[in-house]
């Protein structure tokens, strides 16, 4: 398939659905669902997952408004003015010198005020320019860059990610700094949350490394060791911990490198289906139902790969219901589906286990043996 044909097929499939740039969180989500074509196609066209999922009957997602306000207040507290709390953390944890206080804010609002435009392409260009000065070791360069926009290539297409902060210290490397609002209680933050953040930092690190590489400076100039700034206990005071995300960077690099090209993805997209524009929540029931039907048809036309890690994907409810309706063994989880090998439905597996159907291949024979042993063990247990 040629590139134009592939682009056309993907554009047709996207239909009226708005396209939005991928966030670091969504890119980090690729680690969970490697090889799921459904998710890859949606990522490639930048379709918003949550509105689609909600349309298809998933419970409304998103954070509580209180959590969002708290996050905003914490970020404002640590970044307004001179970013004093962060300077302190950088000095203590990353060994930045007192003179490393040259700051620049590239957040969308600030850039719009100063330049009257704030699109991602423009901000990416500005960020690259500042990063180049930082990498040059220019004495007049900034050493704290707030919300730069970095370009990352996914399947041959550029996407933009926006780290909270990139800091530069004497160790001759750029360090990522991330601000999160879950508390660090008695010096310990929730490990689950930290591991999610670590993966997002890894996305930023890779993006910054690619920028450095493009500018001819070498990827090693961007450190994998970053700083995670969190509220101390239940206050809004900042505390922080250095975090090395080298393993996450390695895994994510492998996934990103393996992300199929758009021409390859377009082959999986059937003709004649397209995603709807998700109607607003207060749209009439008939409109939502029609859109839901169209979305279900379009998504169902793409091959998926269901497994334990799908919980973090927005489309989880839809895919689970689909597996349930099909009676697939994948619905029982990775352990069960691995055991069943190429026997893919629950009915077929039960037939084999209870001897209603004779196995035809060697693999089926193995599955039949294992299952019938398990069935016998179960009967024995019940008899006792």
């Amino acid at each position: 398939m040629t590139r134009t044909a592939a682009e056309q097929r993907l554009a047709e499939y996207r239909g009226d659905c708005p396209s939005q740039p991928l966030t670091a969180r969504r890119l980090a989500g690729l680690l969970d669902v490697p090889g799921c074509v459904r998710r890859q196609v949606l990522d490639a066209i930048g379709a918003p997952l949550d509105p689609l999922a909600e349309l298809l009957g998933a419970p409304p997602g998103g954070q509580s408004p209180f959590a969002i306000i708290r996050a905003q207040r914490f970020e404002e507290r640590v970044t307004t003015g001179d970013m004093g709390p962060l300077l302190m953390l950088l000095r203590e944890r990353l060994g930045a010198p007192v003179t490393a206080v040259r700051e620049c804010d590239l957040s969308a609002e600030q850039v719009r005020t100063q330049y009257q435009r704030s699109d991602d392409t423009f901000r990416a260009r500005l960020s690259e320019q500042y990063l180049e000065q930082m990498l040059d070791g220019d004495k007049t360069a900034v050493n704290l860059l707030r919300r730069p926009v970095l370009t990352l290539t996914l399947g041959g297409e550029p996407t933009f990610v926006e780290p909270d902060l990139v800091a530069y210290t004497t160790t001759d490397q750029l360090h990522p700094v991330e601000i999160r609002s879950y508390p660090c209680i008695d010096g310990i933050a929730d490990p689950g949350q930290v591991s999610v953040t670590a993966r997002e930092i890894a996305v930023h690190v890779i993006a910054a490394q690619e920028v450095a590489h493009r500018l001819g400076r070498g990827r090693e100039r961007v450190a994998t060791r970053g700083l995670l700034a969190l509220p101390r206990n239940f206050t809004l005071d900042a505390t922080g911990q250095p975090l090395d995300v080298a393993p996450q960077v390695r895994r994510l690099r492998r996934i990103l490198a393996g992300f199929p090209a758009r021409t390859a993805l377009a082959r999986h997209v059937p003709e004649g289906t397209s995603l709807p524009a998700p109607p607003p929540r207060d749209a009439p029931e008939a409109v939502r139902a029609a859109a839901a039907e169209q979305a279900a048809e379009a998504l169902g036309a793409l091959p998926s790969r269901f497994g334990d890690n799908c919980l973090s994907c927005g489309l989880f409810t839809f895919c689970r219901n689909e597996q349930q309706a099909a009676g697939a063994v994948a619905r029982l989880g990775n352990a069960a589906s691995n055991l069943c090998g190429d026997v893919s439905t629950v009915t077929a597996a039960l037939d084999l286990a209870e001897g209603r159907r004779a196995p035809t291949t060697g693999a089926e024979q193995a599955v039949a043996d294992a299952l019938s042993r398990a069935a016998t063990a179960l009967t024995w247990q019940e008899c006792r």
């Binding site: 003015g81 300077l87 007192v98």
Partner: protein
């Protein structure tokens, strides 16, 4: 917050004395400028003097009236902000203006009212200029701080039009330098204030801000001399380079921008970012 407390917090003897001293100083300066036949300076001092006199009158009236429980000093938002900026003396982020207004003067400034402030000030400045009367203008305007490279307005950072351009321009290190100056001013205010009603609130604010200066706070009590010494030590390391950048940018600003742009910022259209370096 009781009205009586509010009245006391708005003005005290120190404010009146300060306003009187300011008027006296300006009068002396005016005399000197008149002797030197410096017309531009006389003009500027006259405007500042009339503003200072108004401030003095207000302070005095308020100080005398503060005994009355019914007295409410409902200052306009711009005056509340100008008062905070006058105290801090450096470009200040909006959120800090709000905190200082609450802690030092007991004013609670609503967020949405600050949002339109900059535009209103700009409009007011323009219409005053178009009308052509000096009296139509305000003595001082709230203006945005300007970036050192493009001389464009910075979002969320306010300054007073009376400050020299060098102070209103912010270079990359200026955020920190200005914050250190602000910490110093607050510490000085606390040291002067003695046992004023606002002391605990300002102390709490200073505690938070000074926490980012190494060596400023040891243990659980705050020693103002120690805070100021720590601030001075950090400033010594960074302020010279910052001042040089600001002076250079101000020189460029004065030669390239008209009066309006020097106050409210240049509205430059976007050129290729590569030209930025060339412009420096």
């Amino acid at each position: 917050m009781s009205p009586a407390w509010y009245g006391v917090a708005v003005t005290d003897r120190g404010d009146v004395q300060r306003a009187l001293a300011e008027v006296a100083a300006l009068q002396r300066e005016l005399e000197a400028a008149y002797e030197a036949e410096d017309a531009g300076r006389v003009e500027r001092l006259l405007t500042e003097l009339s503003a200072a006199e108004r401030r003095r009158n207000r302070a005095m009236q308020r100080a005398l009236a503060s005994g009355a429980a019914t007295y409410h000093a409902a200052l306009p938002v711009r005056e509340q902000v100008a008062r905070v900026l006058g105290l801090l003396g450096r470009p200040t982020p909006v959120s800090l203006i709000r905190d200082v207004a609450a802690a030092r003067f007991g004013d609670s400034i609503a967020g949405p009212r600050l949002a339109s402030l900059r535009r209103d000030e700009h409009r007011s400045w323009r219409s005053a200029r178009e009308s052509g009367h000096r009296a139509a203008g305000r003595p001082v305007y709230l203006v945005p701080a300007l970036t050192y490279d493009r001389l464009a307005p910075v979002r969320g950072l306010l300054a007073l039009s009376a400050w020299p351009l060098e102070v209103r321009l912010v270079a990359p290190a200026s955020y920190r330098v200005d914050m250190l100056h602000i910490v110093d001013r607050l510490a000085a205010e606390l040291a002067d204030g003695g046992d004023a009603p606002w002391t605990p609130d300002v102390e709490r604010l200073l505690w938070r801000l000074a926490g980012t200066v190494p060596g400023a706070i040891e243990g659980s009590t705050m020693d103002l001399t120690r805070v100021r010494a720590a601030v001075a030590a950090e400033l010594a390391q960074i302020q010279d380079a910052d001042a040089a950048e600001r002076v250079e940018a101000a020189r460029r600003g004065r030669s390239q921008l008209d009066e309006e742009q020097q106050l409210f910022g240049a509205r430059l259209t976007v050129v290729a970012p590569g030209r930025r370096a060339a412009a420096r």
